[in-house]
């Protein structure tokens, strides 16, 4: 018993001392936290403003690009060209970007890909072409050997036709012989929602074997090849524009939520700060008064 007490006594002493110091320290700590949260709120607020401006531009650009994309898709739909899903070599073009802090844009694409891989099983050999560092970072952790090529330095400026042409060119000059290809991107729906979408891409063989292709007059290989190459670039551009718009809108909502959360935190911290401050004042008063009374 003695031993325990003697051990407990020195333990208790610094605790008492700490409690006295802690009141002061927390006040300082709270002030520091309050400052940093206020700074964070300032940053998220201005990021929201920036992405709101970028979103407005992206949405304006999306309108014609969407028409353009639907025009490019029209032939493949109307000629009823189908992908042969029994063939094993599958190429997936992943549309992401370099920038984060935009909600679940990139992870929803990766999630979609993971679900797709699981569904297709091991019989399908899936390779990736990734546009943007974010999706690359996530996919490379588990599927590094499946990544063929990745593009970066994408997402800071709005996508242009030459970006799309570069990607399309890479696809066309690929050593990997794929049987079917899919483009995965986020389709912009509204400021608060986007849908992860798949868009099939066709190689000339698939077009040649389509049912309704014979309806089309005077098709030589050269025309078909050039046509398909141009359509590929158009579709990639369409996906890029959709992706860019969803990203900016998602960043806007994410930053809005972050500012709101920071505001809430500031409110709570201010309350605790004031309460602690008062407690410190009260305690000091008590100390002074009781000190005076003891004299």
């Amino acid at each position: 018993m003695e031993v325990i007490l003697s051990r407990a006594a020195p333990l208790l002493v610094p605790q008492c001392g700490q409690a006295q110091v802690r009141g002061m320290a927390t006040l300082k700590e709270i002030r520091l936290r309050l400052k940093s949260v206020t700074n964070i709120q300032k940053i998220t607020k201005s990021m929201k403003m920036v992405s709101a401006a970028k979103y407005a531009k992206a949405e304006r650009e999306l309108k014609p690009a969407r028409q353009y994309g639907h025009g490019a898709k029209a032939f493949y739909q109307k000629a009823e060209i189908a992908q042969d899903k029994t063939k094993p070599n599958h190429l997936v073009v992943v549309m992401s970007s370099d920038r984060g802090l935009c909600g679940g844009i990139h992870s929803s694409i990766v999630k979609h890909i993971r679900a797709k891989l699981e569904e297709e099983g091991s019989a399908v050999d899936t390779k990736f072409i990734i546009i943007g560092d974010k999706a690359k970072g996530i996919l490379q952790r588990t599927l590094a050997q499946n990544v063929l090529i990745s593009f970066n330095d994408y997402g800071k400026r709005p996508p242009t036709f030459s970006d799309a042409a570069l990607v399309a060119n890479t696809l066309l000059n690929l050593d990997y012989k794929y049987d079917r290809a899919t483009l995965i991107f986020n389709t912009f729906k509204s400021v608060i929602s986007y849908i992860t979408t798949e868009l099939p891409l066709y190689n000339p063989d698939a077009i040649q074997s389509a049912q309704k292709i014979h309806l089309y007059d005077s098709l030589d290989d050269d025309v078909l090849k050039s046509y398909n190459e141009f359509s590929l670039a158009s579709l990639v551009l369409f996906a890029m524009k959709e992706g860019a718009c969803s990203e900016q809108s998602s960043r806007m909502t994410a930053m809005d939520a972050a500012s709101k959360n920071a505001g809430e935190m500031i409110g709570k911290l201010t309350l605790t700060f004031n309460r602690t401050r008062q407690a410190v004042i009260t305690r000091e008063l008590i100390e002074i008064i009781s000190g005076a009374a003891a004299l």
């Binding site: 650009e61 353009y68 089309y216 007059d217 524009k241």
Partner: protein
């Protein structure tokens, strides 16, 4: 309750409008062409009804009338000429792109760059052409030479379009 009724009533003409638009679209599929003409940055026509479209392609210039045989073509630099329903004629310069005519008589003309002729600046074209000529003569590789040659062709077509 009253507000509920009025909101329903106000929806009726909207519904009717969208129905009639749908009906028009169905009819259009059989009789006329649904003409779409767009570049990534501008949409000039969207499922519009027009009389005739002249397009410059690598297999030659041709005019498209309703019920044209389905085909595909690749645009070359030149002028797309659109004759609208009311007889007005609009001209656009296109750099490259594709023409699709489907079996339901819908037509998609997609261009990398497409602009009405009044946006073109003759002086800038002349300057660009001479620069492109220089690039052809100074190009070291085959690919660079071919690229410069394409630029020359495009500028020549631009110049011709303005004449």
């Amino acid at each position: 309750m009253a507000s509920l009724v009025s909101s329903k009533v106000s929806r009726v003409p909207l519904l009717f409008k969208s129905c009639s638009r749908l009906m028009a679209a169905v009819q259009r599929n059989y009789a006329d062409m649904a003409f779409t003409f767009a570049s990534p940055y501008d949409v000039y026509y969207k499922d519009a009804k027009v009389k005739q479209i002249d397009v410059p392609t690598f297999s030659g210039n041709f005019g498209i009338l309703p019920n044209h045989v389905p085909t595909l073509a690749v645009l070359k630099p030149g002028v797309v000429n659109v004759f609208e329903e009311d007889g007005t004629n609009k001209k656009f310069f296109v750099s490259s792109g594709s023409v699709t005519i489907n079996d339901d008589s819908s037509i998609q003309v997609l261009a990398e760059e497409a602009h009405p002729l009044d946006r073109l600046d003759a002086a800038a074209i002349r300057e660009g052409l001479s620069k492109a000529h220089q690039e052809v003569s100074s190009a070291s590789t085959e690919a660079a030479k071919a690229e410069a040659q394409i630029a020359v062709e495009c500028f020549e077509a631009l110049q011709k379009a303005l004449e």
